[in-house]
């Protein structure tokens, strides 16, 4: 049975990683948000699966938080926001999509290599899953860098958090309190980002963060 359970967990994280690539690939904001919602839902399932596997009921609470907030509340809120702001729905990539994907694959390789060389290399399966979690984190980072759109940056940030939760759940023994506080900090971040987006929209009629560069203090010679 153990083999099946592990395979299942493995598959779930693999699909999550795939969703990260999908996020990188998306050119439209609603698509981005949908893909994120799916990734979060997958995370929720993965966490529940771990809860069953490890026999730790408190992980169900984590799963519930993830499903409620990340898979439902945050995506809906973001979609509502987009609608109210009524901005162009395209994501302007700074880096060409193809190149971003290539770079993403390199990052996956790097995270696998890092985990292989980590001290507990004997527990191969755990390490592979951690590698995937790390790859999700890195890809989230990449989204934040490669996309100038404010919504895309929010999504990137949230997806980093997804990766972290996945890693934490798999590493076993992360206290619930830490998980809850991370969840809340993500909510706060959402609030800040939302406010931020309102203001950019207000001023510049766009969600392109590049426009912010014009309002910075005077450049030093």
């Amino acid at each position: 049975m153990n083999g099946f359970e592990n395979d299942m967990a493995h598959t779930l994280s693999g699909v999550m990683l795939l969703m990260s690539f999908l996020l990188l690939y998306q050119r439209r904001i609603p698509g981005l948000i949908h893909a994120f919602a799916i990734q979060a839902a997958l995370l929720g399932i993965a966490v529940s699966w771990q809860a069953v596997m490890q026999g730790e009921p408190h992980l169900f609470i984590t799963a519930l938080i993830v499903l409620l907030f990340k898979a439902a509340f945050i995506p809906i809120a973001l979609l509502k926001l987009i609608q109210r702001l009524s901005v162009p729905q395209a994501v302007e990539p700074v880096m060409a999509i193809g190149r971003t994907m290539l770079f993403g694959i390199i990052l996956c390789g790097l995270s696998l290599a890092v985990m292989q060389s980590s001290p507990q290399a004997s527990a191969l399966i755990v390490n592979e899953k951690l590698a995937m979690a790390l790859a999700i984190v890195l890809l989230g980072f990449l989204i934040m860098i490669a996309r100038q759109n404010a919504v895309a940056q929010v999504i990137g940030f949230m997806s980093i958090e997804n990766g972290l939760v996945l890693a934490a759940v798999e590493a076993k023994g992360m206290p619930l309190i830490v998980e809850i506080s991370v969840a809340f900090s993500v909510l706060v971040a959402l609030a800040v980002f939302g406010l931020f987006m309102f203001h950019i929209k207000d001023r510049f009629d766009t969600l392109d963060t590049a426009s912010l560069e014009n309002v910075r203090g005077e450049e030093l010679p």
């Binding site: 990052l107 890195l138 980072f141 934040m144 860098i145 590049a210 912010l212 560069e213």
Partner: protein, 665 residues
Amino acid sequence: MHLFAILFLVFLLATISVAALVPKWQRAIAPFSLATSATVFFWMIAFLIKDAAPQEISFPLGIPSIGMHFGLDGLSAFFLMILGLSGTVVSIYALSYFPHEKEPGRILPFFPAFIGAMMLVPLARDAFTFLLAWEAMSILSWALVMAHHKEHGTQHAGYVYLLMASFGTFCLIGAFALLTAASGGLSFSAMQGAKLSFGTASAVLVLALAGAGSKAGIVPLHVWLPLAHPAAPSPVSALMSGVMTKVAIYGFLRIAFGLLGASIWQWGALVLVIGAITAVLGVLQAMLQNDLKKLLAYSTVENVGLIFVGIGLSMTFHASGMEMAATLAMTAALLHAFNHSLFKSLLFLGAGRVLAATGTRDLDKLGGLMRGMPLTAWTFLIGAMAISALPPLNGFVSEWLLLQSLLMGPALPQALMKILLPITIVSVALAAALAAATFIKAFGITFLGRARSPEAAAAKEFKSPETTAMFLLAGLCILIGIIPQAVLSLISPAVSHMTGATIQHFAVSNLLFLVPKAAGSVSYSGIILLLLLGLGGVAAFALLRILASNKTRISPIWDCGTPDNDTLAQYTAGSFAQPIRRGIAAPLFDVREMVDMPPPSDMGTAHFHLHMQDLIWNRMYAPISPFILGLADRLNKMQHRPTRHYLMFMFTTLIILLAGIVLWK
């Protein structure tokens, strides 16, 4: 439950500052810290006399799953004893000092907390607690230094102090990080058993020397000390110079002996050399000062150097298996640490009285204070004699023990030591001789001669707890000078903790003689010497009564027939130091003197210019700020980027670090 009660007291002391917020309770602060310090002092005496077993205790505070560890052993108890004694005496002084302090609100809250934080350092038994207490000590003392923040130079002093304190803590964190990495634990008991390679252990030692040494004031990390100690209110100066430097020395001993085992003689040689350099440069700088409190601060640098000479010598002996010699050297170092805490506190308290009475620390505006302030003058004189290592006072005993332990150096097998030892001997002797000259200057220019300013002429003093504190310290200087055996038995538990040998090697077989058996058939007896001096005095007095005319006449100054009534024609602090400045200090401080004489027949004034620079400051520290500014200018280009770029910086750093992990393995 010894330890628990002491911890409770110390925490109480550290938190009593809240009381200062209520004006009514401010009066209770000095009595409270007096009572607490005195309790700690007597407790530690009892602990040391019993040579009680070490205790440890831990609380589930601080970092989860590690907790805070506290402990008490001979070494800690000895330094706590010093802290308790100085805390007591300075609190007595503070009883009457705070009422006439300009801004008590800026001192009172931090004063007991500072003593409490210092006491926590020797009690800490893990890296986290140690650093926490250390930083609390640094920051609280910084707040005290800044108490008179409007005075000229104070803000600069505070700034330099803050920077150097950060540097010191940074080094200590590095030392503990290496130890933790090697032992896998933050607690001292885990670190003790760690197996370290020569390189790692040496790195830890150097970092500890830099970290603790910068707080103690070893050259070239001493630059903040002569700025910060004088800037603080006088009781705080006494605490900083008298005991905070000792806490720093404790920190070094704890790491070098407690955690590393001091097993490599090269370390000892390094500490020895640095100690000798510190002693000589410190006292030379002290000699050249015109500011009474600055002079005292530089003399602290000198004494710390002497203590480090003892420690370095002990480390060398210890690593070479000469435990008796190591014990002798360490005893000398610890006794000197104790003695220094007494006479330096005494001198700073005296300087505080002078400052309060005349409003100035400038030696060239003082003079003749013996007339108006006889109590301060006589106690200051005892302190000056003690710090000049004159028999039969306590400073001589520790210096004598130090020289005796240096005398055992020829038995060391290392070739390098054969050259280092004579140099160290010269340095120690030069430091002692210059210290005497320095304190002749400090006492002579301040208290003797004729007043150089109206303020000095009008200075008055009254009996108060301040004089009581000073008499107490002066009395201890004499007492320990004549029966040092009493203190040696207190030092014994601390030393045996480090070198393995005990006080039995000193053969305190009788109360009259001090016989360091390790150093051969030599002995010294302060009490008999004092007795002899007394008898000689009686004999001289009797002979004078019989033989001499007792007619005495007050008559104007003779001065070779050319008396000058202008008090400014007296020798000043600068002119007293002139021969030493020219003859010894010239190459070290780039001294140049220029005299502009008007041509003959011109009645204009002549001008004297003195050019002198602190080469350590100018060569080592002054270039740092242009370097940092230049670096900042270049880094400025990194600023004002799109948010995305900042993310990219972070991302790139992360990727590089991850790639580093991969490549490293």
